[in-house]
Structure formats: structure tokens, C-alpha cells
Amino acid sequence: MAEIVLDHITKRFPDGSLAVNDFNLDIADGEFVILVGPSGCGKSTTLNMIAGLEDITSGELRIGGQVVNNKSPKDRDIAMVFQSYALYPHMSVRQNMGFALKLAKTPQNVINDKVEEAARILDLIPYLDRKPANLSGGQRQRVAMGRAIVRDPAAFLMDEPLSNLDAKLRVQTRTEVSRLQRRLGTTMVYVTHDQTEALTLGDRVAVMRAGVVQQAASPKELYDRPVNLFVAGFIGSPAMNFLSGTLEEGMLRTSLGDFRLSDRLRHEVEASGTGRDVIVGLRPENFEDAALVSADNRPHGITFRASIDVYESLGSDVFVYFTRELGRGVNSAELQELAADAGRVDSGGTGETIAARLDAATRIGEGQDAELWVDARAIHIFDPASGRNLSLADDDGGAVAVQAAPDRTDAGEPQAPTQHAAGSGGIQAVPGQAGPPGEAT
């Protein structure tokens, strides 16, 4: 058990390419931290540096208070689970799990006890004398985990341990990993490219892009308050929808309709020197079938008409997709990278297609010209040049949209300005499409 501190860690490969740039993260004892990002973002390199399999170019790595930059893997007291499991094929499950202890010259009876105990936790008792070749994928994965836990290390490092399992087993094993970590209470650093895994498993998630940590925060924080376009687009499935927007006379004009900005948010946007063009982000679940929105909620958003191209029912929810002109504003490097990241292109989040998640009760069908409603409280505004989320600063003040402020329970800070004046809110529906904002509260 130990905390891991990454202090300005940088990795430059001999060919000059920068894999990890100025990585700072304090991982508390017993914390479950996820490194997530598209392939090639440096997350595995970071993990390998913690393990001691890669040299650290600059910066300081401390495990349990000790600087371990120049220590070999065996002196760091960490265990690692590899993507391919890397089981020793010439050894039985028992020998595989006991190998580390054997190298540490642990007495044989202690090794046997520890291996049996780990095998019991992982349901591997019947397979102890088998060779890895005679195990199924899920069993091999458990042996790899077992090999890590018998050592009772200061920290576990996991490099995409579930990516070789099929979808059903992956979900099942994900729960097991989570339970195991809670049971053992050992610090765990977990690398994945799957944002669902990241959100479900981690106490804290660090989103990486091109060797730089974009944001390290709790899953909820990442989802609700992404600091930039990249995090916003990467976290969430289907991904956040992005539209271009133009600021005109305190209004945010988008292809969905016009939103009114609060004075504070307008000041914030103006102060950032962004200019008039911004990128607007809306999550699929912020949309709803206008017919299903209660009268109370209607004023919090705007309604618009859209021609539904694709209709997908998941039983519990319905996804509909429609197209909107993207506009000239939506053309940032981060969005292009997100679109290029495999699997996200067809999720429709960053292209011209807008995904909306509706209640299963909706009667909207494919090919219809439907009336949809979008919640203005959840809108995110990004600077197209830097990708920075401009709506966060205002959020700190207590509200994205004036109507939402009284409902927010997570922010107990002064909200006085938002309580009484409609004009001081963040974003609200334009009168005419919705009721007078003041009535909302």
C-alpha cells in the first residue's frame, strides 16, 4: 500500500518524439485511478514508467514517498497485469502465480498458502495445475490478476486488462475488478481506451491526449464539467454533439435555435478574447421529445424541428439521429482527433449528425419531421481556438442557466444573483419559444 506521485514526469523517446509531457498526478493510497485516452496518447507509456519498464526522461516518480526513478521494476513493489496477460506458458497456473514469490525466495509453504488464497478469491482452485494453454480467455485473465494479487504489492498496474475479453465477459470482469480493488484496498492504476470502463471503475480518471493530461477528476466531474472540447467529446457514449454558435447581442445563435447568455457568461466569453464564433456542446440526453417535456421543464430549454434520419430503440431509451449544418466554427484539431479515433466516427457525436436520447415513450419514428426539445441548462460553450470550456467559469458561480440554479444541490455556494433576476442567469431559452424566464423558479 502506498501513494504514487508523478511529479512533472516527461518521456521523450530516443527518436525525439515526446510521448508524455509534464505529467502531474498524486494518486492517494488505495485510490483507483484510470488513465484513459485514444491510442497513442501516452497512457501505456506512463504506466510502463510507473512499472519501471520505461526510463523517465525527466521529472520525479515517488512510490510510498521514495523516489524510484532509477529503481528497477523488482525494487518497486508493484504488480502489473498486461493486456495480453503474458502468462508463462511453460508453467502451471500455480507456478505462474507463485513465480514472483519464488524469485523473492519466499518459503515454499508460504507460496502455496498465498497462491491457494488468491486462487480461492478468483475461483481458480480447480485449474491450479493446468497450463495456460488449457484455459479459456476469462480464466487466463483471472490468472493474470492472481499473479498480481499473490504478491500483495504496494500498487497494481493494469494495462487494458479487459480488452481481450468478449463484450459480455468484459462487463462481468469489470465488476469483479472493481469488487477486488475495494476488497484489497490497494492502490490501482488502470489504463484503458474505453471511456465506459473508465467512468464505471475509477475513483478518479485522467484523460490524456498526445502525452498531456487534459483533466484528472472524478467520473461525474469529467462528465458534467469537462474542461475542454477533447474531454467533452471523449467522455460519454454516444459522444457529445458539437455545433457552431455565434454570439450576437447577448444571444448565442446556433442551427438549433437561439440561446440567451447571462451577462456573466457573456463577460467571460468576451474576456477570453474568443471572438464571436464558439463551439456549442450538447449531450444526447439533453434532448427530449418536445411532446414529453412537462410544462415546468419546457422553459428551461428550446424547441426546434428536425427531420429524423435514424431511429434506434434500446428498449429503455430511444436514440434518434438527425443532421444539422455544422457551420464554419466547428473545425478544431481536437474534434478532428476525436473523429479519427476509431469507433467514435460512427457514433455521430462529432460529425454533422446529431444524436439525441429520448424517452422510450416517444412516438417519434424514422423519417418524421419531429419537434424536439433541448435543455439549455446543460449547454457547454467552447473556445474553438483553444478548446477551453468557457461555461465552466460561470458554472463555478452557481449556474449555467438561470432556471437550473435553484435545483442544483451540488453547489451550495452563493447563488444570490441567480435567485432573483432572470437576466443574471447563464443561458436560457429565448422568450417566444419558451415562457418568461422569471417564471421558471
Partner: protein, 279 residues
Amino acid sequence: MAAMTTTPRQKVGWGTANFVVIALALIPVLWLVSLSFKTPAAVLDPSFIPASWTWGNYDQILSSSQFIRPLINSIGIGLIATLVAVVLASMAAYAVARLRFPGKSVLIGMALLIAIFPQIALVTPLFNIERALGLFNTWPGLIIPYIAFGLPLGIYTLSAFFREIPWELEKAAKVDGATPFQAFIRVIAPLAAPGMVTTAILVFLACWNDFLFAISFTSTISSRTAPAAMEYFSGSSQFTVPTGPIAAAAVVITIPIIIFVLFFQRRIVAGLTSGAVKG
């Protein structure tokens, strides 16, 4: 799968072809065995099966230090050269397969160069070198050239095997607390065992069968190997060709090879790396 089933006609065709190939390969060997059991007088008898069987030729060679001592030399020199060559080759091959270092391509090129160099061209210079160094007519005098010619072969075969072993196994071993040497000995080497055995057989065969160096760099039975020693066999009289004893000696030196190959065949065939990683 329907295309895979063979018709009776195909079976007969393949059977005949196999029989012809095996017969062509085996008849000279059987002829040698037959000769080794013939009496000196019957050597010129063209019948395949000896009219009268005799152990005389075997008695003669196995009771003579002219053959026993070279046989011991052959075994000793062959085993030492094989062992050293495989150990060195596996380390070199590991480096070639895993590490990036300056001059790697030069090293591979040099190894290839040695392998293709005609040995006969080297006999004279090596002879002079060995005499100057006092290695002539000693075990090291044969062991060293054998290692030199065994290494390229070994490096090539083994680096192919090492490339097959997932690198993550080594990382796993390191994280498990192994030093690089322990990782090599306890994880990588056992997995490359089929490759090492294959290499060992090839190198041992080359040493065992070598005649050129054996005849050139030795002068007495203290270091002469069996193939060379057969050249010095004498008949019962000065004017008799020692065909029988030579045939018997040839049979005797073939037996260890057969045992060696049969013993290790199972290990060569078995793919040991299966199950290391998924798939």
C-alpha cells in the same frame, strides 16, 4: 473439408512416391549395415543379405584403440562445441532479436558471411594459425573452429525462435522481480527450448560429420575424431582394403545421431509458446 479427403487412387500414388523416396535414402544405409556384417572374404559378394553373418568387424574396431579413442574424441569435441555454440548463439540471437544496438546489421552480415565461406579455403590459414598457437592436434584445435562455424547457424535459427516469444513475457518477469538474467534463464530460455534443441542437433551433426577439419588439424589419435580415424584403418594385411571395419565404424557413428534425434524429436515438434498470450 470434402476437398481434403483422399481417394484410394491418391493414397496409392502417395504411398508409391513415399516408398521410392525412402528406399532411395535407405538402401545405401542398409547396404552399409549389410557390409558391416560380412566377413572380409565376402566383401565383394554382391548379395544384399550376407551369406554368413559375423560380428568380426565390430569386434575388431571396438577392441582397437584406433577407433575407441577417436570415438571418445568425437563425442567430447562434439558435445563441448555444441554446448558452447548454443549458449553463445542463444545470447547473441536474443540480442539480435530483442535489442537495438549499433552494428547489428553488420553482425548479422558477418555471421552470414562466415556461414557461406567455403571451409576448404580456410584450412591452410587455420592450419598455420593453429600450429603457431600450439592448438594443432588438440581438442581445442577442433572445438574452436567448430564453434565458429556453428555460431552463424545457431544465431540464425535461434533469433527466429526468440522473435516468436512475446516480449510482454519478459516485462512480466521483470515486474515479478526477475533480473534480466533470471528472466532470460527462467522464462525466455525454456520457451526457446525447442529452438535450442534444434540448433544443438544441427551444430552437433556438423561437428560429428566433419571430416575436413578433423583430418587437417589432427595428427594422432589423441585428438583425431572418428570420421578421420576411419581413414587410418588398416586391413588384416597391408594389401587388404578394410571395407568391413569401415562399414562397421560408419554404422557405429550413425547410432548416436539416430538416438539423439529420436530423443529430442518430440520437443522439437511441440510448440511450447502456445497459451502465453491470447489466441
